[in-house]
Symmetry: C2
Subunit: 348 residues, 2 copies
């Protein structure tokens, strides 16, 4: 799967390089629009779209514009999300608004909010680029009816749902989630919905269809959504139980910032009051020492929360695999099965 993923990534990168959004000026905006795209990313969204279409016999040449559009869609949401979350780095490098801020300091001697302001406009341009890339599908043999259905899905379903997820995540900094279901719904919208869209659109393109309610389209969407949820739950677990050398950020940082994950909500429902008080006391810290981390891990494990969340993740993963049942058995279905396995069992 990893070799195939690299191959898709290479083709997407080439397509994006040769299908830039035109008419962008000044130069620093044109450059900012591709900044994050060039700073890595595994292109799993385009791969998901391609593999679902390819299980059903579609050729990748036809798919490239729409697959590339999903990567830029992911990109614009990250660019605006990094502004909203005030995150200065992304993929280990300056976030787009930080990159633009550095440009302003170098060229005008001052930032004066230029980085954030131009970062907003950069995301806007990328959102337009998404729609343009989808329209490029007309040149690779996609039917006009299919293209119109994809544009409709993006603009009247994907975007409102994804932004719902982003806004609710921001809200969770100001209020407690009502329950575990609300957190799962938020994750399903914030990250699951784009994965769902990619899988669904792959099937739609392979069938030259225009109906997102088609049963194969729906099953593909369920697969991707469930993989996404399994991934997120695993991510919460790794944030507290991972090997520090593999995580790429301090283990336990979710505890310090009081992130309201499913794992923590489950722990707060199951642990003793004294243990919860201890966990709450950690939110005031910058970093945990190894004793604090060990104690927190023990509480989360011994109250049964860890096991419950592991079981939930496994259930999402099982549901995902069931959704593949009716797709033809071939190498692309193998990649999808491996994708599901990777999303649920990764170690970092």
């Amino acid at each position: 799967m990893k070799t195939e993923l690299s191959s898709v990534a290479e083709q997407i990168n080439h397509f994006l390089d040769t299908n830039r959004l035109t008419h962008i000026s000044p130069d620093y905006l044109a450059e900012a629009v591709t900044h994050l795209v060039k700073n890595g990313g595994k292109r799993i969204r385009p791969a998901l779209l391609c593999w679902f279409a390819q299980t059903l016999g579609a050729s990748i040449d036809k798919l490239l514009p729409i697959a590339a559009a999903t990567e830029i869609y992911h990109t614009w949401t990250l660019v605006h999300d990094d502004i909203v979350d005030n995150d200065d780095t992304r993929r280990g490098k300056p976030a787009t608004h930080t990159h633009l801020k550095n440009y302003a300091v170098d060229h005008f001697g001052t930032d004066n909010n230029f980085g954030v302001n131009m970062g907003i406009l950069t995301g806007d341009l990328q959102q337009a680029w998404v729609n343009k890339l989808v329209l490029n599908g007309l040149q690779t043999g996609c039917k006009a009816e299919t293209i119109l259905a994809i544009l409709d899905r993006i603009n009247s379903y994907l975007t409102p749902k994804l932004i719902d997820g982003e806004a609710t995540d921001v809200e969770f900094e100001s209020r407690e989630p009502k329950n575990v279901e609300e957190v799962i719904q938020m994750m399903g919208n914030k990250t699951g919905i784009l994965l769902e869209f990619c899988a669904q659109t792959g099937v739609l393109l392979a069938k030259d269809g225009s109906n997102y309610s088609d049963s194969d389209v729906t099953e593909a969407g369920n697969f991707a959504r469930n993989c996404g949820l399994a991934f997120q739950l695993q991510d919460d677990i790794l944030g507290i139980f991972a090997d520090e050398s593999k995580l790429g950020k301090p283990v336990g940082s979710d505890l310090c910032c009081g992130k309201q994950t499913v794992l923590m909500l489950k722990t707060k429902a199951l642990a003793s009051e004294k243990d919860i008080d201890f966990l709450n006391s950690l939110t005031a810290k910058e970093l945990l020492n190894s004793e604090e981390l060990s104690k927190a891990q023990r509480i989360i494990e011994e109250c049964g929360a860890l096991k419950e969340v592991q079981t939930m993740a496994q259930q999402f993963s099982n549901s995902a695999m069931e959704s593949l049942q009716n797709f033809p058995k071939n190498q692309y279905r193998d990649y999808l099965e491996q994708f599901c396995h990777y999303m649920t069992n990764r170690e970092k």
Copy 2:
């Protein structure tokens, strides 16, 4: 014309009310998406689209979705622009991000940048709504080919050009414009390009066309662009010479904030060094007293800059009227002529 404009506005408002973007949640985002739309605005962009299509015999029912899309397009650019420019009010009421900030203070007891963050997401939703509204044209008898051409124009031409204008305007706070032409190009992109798009798209829709290079489409675009430029120059003049009771903001405020208008660039090219020093000294003030304002007005008038800019505005207006020559003479062409007259000669 004003009666007809009100009639178009009423139909657009009704169409927007009954064709909201669905799936938006939380409620404050759904509400924010229509906040600015409900706070007034004359709907001149939809009217421009309708009148050009109607001169060529199109029926307004067919046009409403796309005409409504131009109003929402205008809206999303204002929502993000008010964040970029840090403007707290728009149309005499709280800007969208201010409205959201007030919501956060009321409901969470703190803003914590919630207003700006949700304002960014609100503009993103509106940008999606634009594309959705254009797609709605398929239900009112617009050809798929025309809809695809309009979506292409929006996403690969209108948005990059308009954002170029916005970014360059922001840059002018950090650097001097190179010359008058650069300011005119900025204005043409920031405000002219959407007017141009509206006029062009009206003709395209009337002809069921898909080619923005068609000569009638081009002429309609020239009309609108030139009206927009005449309007902007007139706006610069009114900012310094208007009757305060009609302007709605302090006369001379452009002088205090050192706004780099064509009128001021011309003045700086023509006036004496001593007079320019005086004008530059005003940029440090909050408000001008009547003596300072009178002296500034006298300098701008006596050096010949006022006359030059009035002549430029008249030339743009004349060019606009010439572009109407080949359109059929009927009531809608009359409205367009009156529109041009209004844009060039308005007093506030």
